[in-house]
Symmetry: C2
Subunit: 221 residues, 2 copies
C-alpha cells in the first residue's frame, strides 16, 4: 500500500492526499515531525520536507512533481485537462497557490499561529499575521474573479488547481482564518469541493491544541 | 515574434530563456523593472513577477508552467524524458532548485548583493550572505552526488532540471559566488551546458554597476 509521510495541516500534503483520494489510491498516513529531522526521515528525503510519498516502490518528494506523477500513471479520473493551453493554466494556478499564496498568506497565518507553537518556536509575530490577513482578501477576490468566468478555478473541469487552492484554504479554515462571507462564488466553489468523498479525511483531521471551528467539517457551512 | 519580459539575472527568466533558445524559438527580450509595478505590467501579470512570456497570442507567467507549455507545444529537441518515473525526477529537481536552492542560496546571495541595490532597498544583510555561502556548499555536493551517477542531473539526457540548476548557478557566477573548485564533476557539467548555443545570450548579459568575473563568459573556465 502507498504510504504518505505528512503533517495534517500542511497544504502541500493535503494537495497530495486529495489527488490520491480522488484517484482512489489507498494510502497509509504517517505523521512525520519533519522539523525533528530524524535520520530515517532525512534518508528518505534530503530536503527534510513533507510530503514524502512511497508509491510504486519509489520514495518521492516535492508535491507538484508527485501530483504530476500520479496523474501520468493514473490518468482517470483526470485532474489535468488535455490541451497544452488548459494544462498551462492549471500549472500556473498551482504555482500561484503554492508559491505566491503560500508566501503571502499561508506562511503568515498558519505558520505563525500553528507551526511556531507545534515546533516550539514561540509566539506568532503580529506583523506577519496582519499582513497575511490583509493579503488573503486580495487572493479571495482573485479567486472570485476567476470563478465568475469559469466553473472551476482553471476552467470547466475540476483540476489540480482546485486541489492546490482548497488545500491552502482548508488548512486556514481549520484556524478560522478564511472569511467565507467575502465572496458567494468562492464559498459555493469551496462547498462543492468540500463535499467530495476525497475531502473526508481532511475534514476529520485533528491537531492537538487547536480545535477547528464548528463549520470546518460542516458540508452546509 | 515571442516576447519575454525579464530581468537579466533572474534564474526563473534564465530558465525560460534557455528553454526557448534550445528549441530555437526567437524571442525579443524586454527588461521589466517589475518592482516599479507599472500599470501596464500589472495588467499583463497580476502576480507582478517576471518572467512574463508572450507566445502564441497568450501572455503567460510562472516559469515552471511556461516551460511545460513550451515542451508540450514544441516537443523537439526534448527537454523532458518519456517515462513518468524520469519525468518525476526532472520535476522534483526543478522544484529543488526553484524552491529549496532559491530559498537557501539565491535569495541570500543574489538578492542581497544585487536586487537590494538595484531596487533601492539598501545594503546586503551579512547574516543572510553568510548563510547563503554556507548553504551553496551543501547544494554543490548534492549535485556532485547526482552527477557521479548520471550524465546529467536528472538522468542520461539534458532536461529542464539542468536548465533550472544552470539558471541559478549562472546568476550566482555573475557575482562570483560559485566555488567551481569544490567539485570537478559539477564544473565539467557546467562547462558542458555553458558551451551550448542556448547559453550565449546569458553569457552576454550585463548589469550596470556589477561587472562579472573574467571566467563568467569563458567557455574554458
Amino acid at each position: 500500500m502507498a504510504r504518505l509521510f505528512h503533517v495534517p495541516l500542511s497544504p502541500f500534503c493535503r494537495k497530495v492526499r486529495l489527488s490520491l483520494a480522488e484517484k482512489k489510491i489507498e494510502v497509509e498516513l504517517v505523521e512525520e515531525k519533519y522539523w525533528e529531522k530524524s535520520p530515517d526521515f532525512l534518508r528518505r528525503n534530503p530536503a527534510a520536507k513533507v510530503p514524502v510519498l512511497r508509491l510504486d516502490g519509489r520514495v518521492m518528494s516535492e508535491s507538484a512533481a508527485i501530483c504530476e506523477y500520479i496523474e501520468e500513471t493514473r490518468p482517470e479520473p483526470a485532474l489535468m485537462p488535455k490541451t497544452p493551453e488548459a494544462r498551462f493554466e492549471v500549472r500556473r494556478l498551482v504555482s500561484w497557490f503554492d508559491d505566491k499564496f503560500h508566501h503571502e498568506v499561508t506562511s503568515k497565518l498558519l505558520y505563525e499561529r500553528v507551526n511556531k507553537k507545534v515546533t516550539g518556536q514561540g509566539y506568532p509575530d503580529s506583523k506577519n499575521v496582519k499582513e497575511g490577513a490583509r493579503a488573503i482578501k486580495f487572493h479571495l477576490d482573485y479567486m472570485a474573479w476567476l470563478l465568475d468566468q469559469r466553473r472551476w478555478l482553471a476552467g470547466d473541469q475540476m483540476t489540480l488547481a482546485d486541489f492546490a487552492a482548497a488545500a491552502h484554504l482548508s488548512s486556514l479554515d481549520y484556524i478560522s482564518d478564511v472569511d467565507w462571507n467575502r465572496s458567494q462564488v468562492v464559498k459555493d466553489w469551496y462547498a462543492k469541493i468540500k463535499s467530495r468523498p476525497a475531502f473526508r479525511s481532511i475534514l476529520a483531521d485533528q491537531v492537538p491544541g487547536f480545535r477547528p471551528p464548528a463549520h470546518y467539517a460542516d458540508l452546509d457551512f
